[in-house]
Symmetry: C2
Subunit: 329 residues, 2 copies
């Protein structure tokens, strides 16, 4: 495969508190803001501009996932451009502010990279979640981080048009997800792992921007293919079973046909009736009870990523001209 040339990543956004009770990202963004204040005086301007964003300050203040509706589902083009009124939910108003600040989504003015920090109650370790399995920037960041920390790459196969999360506002973007951590709680080990992940990500961006070649190679990508809800009572809609103890905490361990899936509250075991062995993740995530998701299942694929290098200024200019003429068509 040939060397690919990609534009400079001059503007990066690190966002926390998109969900107001996912504490690692909230405290990390606050800490980075504090640290920045301290070093402002004696440091020169960095080659990368890093915006630090507390995405949903009202939800953070109340330590709730959201006030009116899930902010991280508000960034579709449809929602961002829909009508507004006095009764528009807070998060829809806030999504437009963030789109103005970091986007507009899909435009040349959008930030180059959005890293949105999340926590899960599932035992998923550190993961990057992205809509693309061929965004070489995201996959090279993944590869660089994986050389330093245990990490997985999850791919949600959703079209650009339907992409709904904050990280979709940037030219490149991903959620950095880490668990297990109860919502509303910060665990020191989880906080520290996220801090290291963000630092390695920024290190790679500097490395890339400085003109270094990032070598190509293979990476494993988990593409989400299926979701299961909890068994529920048809009248009350209450769940009638929990994730089976033999499945709980076994995110990314291959689930085979007939493996235990749920244990009902009366003690019965329900099994996986699918025909294909798949990788479970987001097992028993707190916020997904209301979304009707007990766990997600992924297929693992090996993806070849090419070597990349930042474009020279000349290459960039020619690209910009091409972009402009495309725009004019």
């Amino acid at each position: 495969m040939h060397l690919h040339f990609l534009p400079l990543l001059s503007r990066v956004a690190v966002c926390g508190g998109t969900h107001g009770n996912e504490m690692s990202g909230i405290y990390l963004v606050k800490e980075l803001l504090k640290a920045r204040k301290k070093v402002m005086e004696d440091e020169e301007e960095k080659p990368v501009s890093v915006m630090l964003v507390l995405s949903n300050p009202r939800a953070v203040q109340q330590c709730r996932r959201y006030i009116d509706t899930d902010l991280n589902r508000c960034f579709t083009h449809a929602t961002l451009s829909g009508p507004m009124s006095d009764t528009t939910p807070y998060e829809i108003i806030r999504s437009r502010e963030l789109n103005t600040m970091l986007g507009p989504k899909g435009s040349p003015g959008a930030v180059d990279l959005v890293c949105d920090l999340h926590n899960t109650t599932a035992n998923m370790g550190l993961c990057l979640i992205s809509y693309s399995d061929c965004d070489w920037i995201c996959l090279h960041i993944f590869r660089h981080l994986q050389a330093n920390v245990p990490l997985r790459y999850i791919h949600f196969d959703v079209s650009n048009k339907e992409s709904y999360s904050l990280d979709s506002v940037g030219k490149h973007g991903f959620a950095m997800e880490i668990g297990p951590q109860p919502h509303g709680v910060v665990r020191s080990n989880v906080y520290t792992a996220m801090k290291a992940g963000v630092q390695h990500m920024l290190d790679w961006v500097s490395f890339f921007n400085s003109g270094n070649v990032s070598e190509g190679g293979f990476v494993d990508v988990f593409t989400m293919v299926k979701r299961f809800d909890y068994p529920r009572d048809s009248e009350t809609h209450d769940i009638t079973a929990a994730v089976h103890p033999q499945l709980q905490d076994r995110d990314f361990c291959l689930l085979h046909p007939e493996d235990p899936l749920f244990q009902t509250f009366s003690g019965e075991t329900l099994r996986y009736k699918g025909k294909e062995p798949l990788y479970p993740f987001f097992i028993n995530e707190c916020a997904y009870y209301e979304k009707g998701i007990a766990l997600s299942l992924a297929r693992k694929r090996r993806v070849m990523i090419p070597a990349i290098r930042v474009q020279t200024e000349q290459e960039e200019q020619s690209n910009e001209q091409r972009f402009t003429s495309e725009e004019e068509e």
Copy 2:
């Protein structure tokens, strides 16, 4: 020590959902209600009447700890008898309903035993929490359960006048606390352990009511002596550190002077400066961030409990007469 004679435990209340996001107790009470409905037809009346109570249905419905204020702090005599108005918080209104249903607190009409089901994000395993270290009923239940499941007994040294929790409404009472489980999540192993705990408790009540002698002996009691808040920013009141990774999840492991207590978000270690080794518990409990409690510390003591047996009817009558004459004084 002599054999003690204690009144029959004819009315027992098992309560879940006192905190609306502590899911094991909620699903257990719902399951027991369902099971009762099923067996109603073919079963004879039990020697014990077990009331199953969903304590805070509005909070359960919203999957939040509480709506206006923490229900499990509303059962002091002062709050139960305070003035009411249009702006009285929902939980204060509800605490009176529960006091009418299960109490009145401190009166002869109160239920004999309240078992209130709770979850914690702390790695505490199964615990009974009580205001007394000399309530032989609670301690015998503890001893019976401990013979069947791993279990600890926590004693909050609070006077009867100041006791504030739902379980204080019964003649005897305790919280059955179990963790770790994130709030808003049910973990099958935690649910099953709680179910077993409740079953063993009810078994012992039947055993006791049938006139059997429960032998005396020694039990270990953890008496709460101290609490620590997280380090906080003096201006924003934000926490500036998390529980140290070496302390996290080590509930009931002796904490020695100079052991790590917190790790600040910039990476510094803060140490325990007390002079006495003590047992930490409720380490990093989600709901206690707002209460300013990062962990509690306990002293362990060995308590001798006497053999007990239920009173004969005759003994009970003579006791009732004594109680009545005390009332009349």
